[in-house]
Symmetry: C2
Subunit: 333 residues, 2 copies
């Protein structure tokens, strides 16, 4: 097996469902032999590591530790799925506060111990916020960190393929931008169904307005539906896609979906949101998508929603007000 790089890849939250799948996926993709698995919960971490050893993977130097300093030392690539899951009785705010605090600590740890880090992918929810908080405290350049934002687009592709009864790969360039779930901005103008622009089909007998609304609703509810069907949150798809993002950052195959990136221009102010992106060995770059006026308005709404979430985290005292960010991370001035 040829590896893409020898650089150390650190996977955070590796004892969990997403994290343990990330480890297996990264090994199977042949990204690097040097993989370090971190989780603060040592037993689950060791159990995952034993399973990897029992799989008989060759030429892999898989280490595992519950010490974040050891995990981040010499790490060049980092993926974190290490948030808390929403538990019974927990409000949305509880989850936001808990995971924003975890993100703040991860950012500080990256700054303190991750001197060689070149690229970070953040997976835990709400990823636009946890990614932003991690970026702020890490001191990294914005091009060095992105968040998993592809699932809405892959769900849109899937729902369109199912609606039209065609294979998924005949639905091209299905795209959502901005936030996630209720807050995502669906860009029908970018998508092609068998080469035909999706926007020319909406409102015709091929895809009446009402069915299109239902279809978007299905995409919005995509994550909830996995929970209903499987009795657990999605873990295979976020794990696989986040490892694909790191593969691109290592110089491997291009990542084909939107990613969440730090945006601070074109009327979007100090925010992290899904944009059209390219990820390569130099990090992530983005373009603001160009859609119809209605799509751009939806993107703007999505941005405003994310701004309110960010401001909520500021009010919680987890991150400082925006004007003070430059003192924490000069790249975010």
């Amino acid at each position: 097996m040829e590896f893409l790089t020898q650089d150390k890849l650190t996977l955070i939250g590796a004892g969990g469902m997403i994290g343990s799948n990330m480890v297996q996926t990264a090994i199977m993709m042949g990204l690097t032999p040097n993989i370090c698995a971190y989780d603060p919960y040592a037993p689950a971490l060791e159990g995952m590591a034993e399973e990897m050893f029992h799989s008989g993977f060759d030429r892999i130097n898989l280490t595992f530790t519950d010490n974040i300093e050891a995990a981040l030392k010499d790490a060049v690539y980092v993926v974190s799925s290490g948030g808390a899951a929403r538990k019974a009785g927990m409000t949305r705010e509880d989850l936001l506060r808990g995971n924003a605090e975890i993100a703040a600590q991860l950012g500080r740890d990256l700054r303190r111990y991750g001197k060689k880090v070149r690229f970070v992918v953040i997976v835990f929810n709400p990823a636009d916020i946890t990614g932003l908080v991690t970026l702020l405290y890490s001191g990294l350049e914005p091009s060095r960190l992105c968040t998993l934002a592809a699932l809405d687009s892959t769900r849109l592709q899937t729902a369109l393929a199912q609606y039209f009864g065609i294979p998924r790969d005949r639905v091209q360039n299905a795209r959502t931008y901005g936030g996630h779930g209720e807050q995502m901005a669906v860009f029908a103008s970018t998508a092609r169904i068998d080469g035909n622009p999706l926007s020319t089909l909406i409102g015709t007998p091929a895809l009446p307005e009402e069915q299109w609304k239902e279809l978007q609703q299905k995409v919005i509810q995509g994550g909830k539906r996995i929970i209903d069907l499987r009795g657990r949150s999605s873990f295979q798809s976020p794990a696989y896609l986040s490892v694909e993002m790191i593969r691109a950052a290592m110089g491997g195959e291009p990542f084909r979906w939107p990613a969440g990136v730090y945006v601070n221009r074109d009327g979007f102010d100090h925010i992290m949101m899904a944009m059209e992106t390219d990820i390569d060995r130099n990090g992530v770059t983005y373009r603001v998508p160009q859609g119809t006026p209605a799509e751009m308005e939806a993107l703007r709404d999505s941005y405003l929603h994310l701004s309110r979430l960010r401001d909520e985290v500021i009010r919680m005292g987890i991150i400082p007000p925006v004007p003070q960010w430059a003192r924490v991370n000069p790249y975010l001035a």
Copy 2:
């Protein structure tokens, strides 16, 4: 991505933890674009399939069904992890009866619907028995079916590497044969530690007899330890290894570990047990391992234990007495 074959691969139990990992693993390995996922529990199956769709895998024709006839129609390769898990209050006999009955039905379904089946891998416990029962009722030649038996050997390799503090791949040819867990026969004479025969190290300061006993005990308890650590049975390693077996049967990379096969010679009578095996496009062939007298005695004990389990299933009425097997499957005469 180049595929090994275009033949249909059917994965049974695909809604479960092992099965859903098998689907992802088979897709990532590029075995075949034509993968059919089956599970009698439709919601979990659909949830897994949605996750695969949301992963954005290209050029994959993944279908899913809770109809076994549709699943096995035109299937050329089959892996089944579709047994019941041991539940609280269930005795060992309950589990044996339940899974032997599932295996009997799978065998009948393979005979009835799986007209094109070339190779089957059985993963669900106790695999030596469920594999034997499936083989009997399927009417397949013994070279067309094997069971997952590698985990004891990979656990032995892992435990030796950990004991000697060396990378796993410097422990070569770690092997157990016969049954599993308590009943496995450890062949120290086959293994090499950094090129040195393991048997020359046992009983020396490098590996005192007592530490060797402890190490074997660790291997025997390997599955239980995963449950203790993860709070669930191992799923990543059995999934990965069983897909590696199917890859070998498709003409891909050789499988490097023992497999459970039907044995009916050399003093082993109408039984399925782990042997030294080769799996290729013609199916599975085996050699009876040659060890020290003590190792051969352990293998014999393991065989006798498996014979008792088989006879228990005969007494349950799930399979007929051995002399009548030829009427059910002439290849087992």
